[in-house]
Amino acid sequence: MSIGSFSFDVTASGQFPYIIAAILVAFGLYALLFKRNLIKMVIGITLIETGVNLFLVMVGYRSGGAAPIYTYANPGQGMVLPTPQALTLTSIVIGLATTALLLSFAIFVHRHYGTLDVRKIKELRG
């Protein structure tokens, strides 16, 4: 399959990164659903984030394309799509902020509750 001068790799090895992304998201969801430790849940969230970011980068990949930098590619040479890379970067920055906030909350939850066990942190219920 190809559009213009680019081609999409539809072979099994070309799909490998997508599978990895799916596995990362699945591991993250597993951690969020079954792990009882707040820190492990934060790790689960960052795993999902990594999976989504990997997916984003892969969406923009075109086999044979150069890095999307103006001064790197020869004139006429194809580049991989720069937009998803910019998106991934933005997403990483946002991920840094959310992770920092979540970990700060975890620190203060531990200070108040004396535990990181999510089953014991349930004053807000019903």
Partner: protein
């Protein structure tokens, strides 16, 4: 980790490398419009040097050397500078790149094809990189400091 930091080996190596890390971070910020990297990445690298100092010398070791208030003020200044540069193009549109291709300050054109690039190009983009870099390096450094203070209170309680 105690207040006095880690072993002599770590502290000695840290003394050697933290300056290099900071220089490298500034390099990444400076060349953000030409090579991979930019304000956020460079800022994160510089902040990692601060984090390294914190980890190896401990909270007591850096007491009085990294001023949290100053860091936070610099962070706001970085953010305001970024927004101000975005406002500067308001004559045409928000975020309009005033200086690009003007030929003057940061206005050179970069030739196509493999070349080392020209630093004096990119218009407002390098300036914005600096603003973002300032914000990120001080922001992450203050996050690390605040978290360390939080964690230390935890230990003493």
């Amino acid at each position: 980790m105690n207040d006095r930091g880690m072993s002599v080996i770590v502290r000695t190596v840290t003394r050697f490398v933290y300056g290099l890390i900071i220089v490298f971070g500034f390099y990444v910020i400076m060349h953000g419009h030409l090579t991979p990297g930019g304000g956020f990445q460079g800022g994160a690298i510089v902040a990692s040097a601060f984090a390294l100092l914190l980890v190896s010398f401990g909270a007591a070791g850096i007491k009085g050397k990294l001023n949290k208030k100053l860091l936070q003020s610099l962070e706001e200044i970085g953010a305001l500078a970024f927004l101000g540069l975005a406002f500067a193009g308001l004559g045409t549109a928000f975020f309009y790149n005033l200086l690009a291709h003007g030929g003057g300050f940061f206005g050179a054109a970069v030739p196509a094809g493999p070349n080392p690039g020209i630093l004096n190009a990119g218009g407002l983009v390098p300036l914005m990189n600096w603003a973002v870099g300032l914000k990120v390096m001080t922001g992450i450094a203050s996050i690390v400091i605040v978290m360390l203070i939080g964690a230390r209170k935890e230990e003493t309680e």
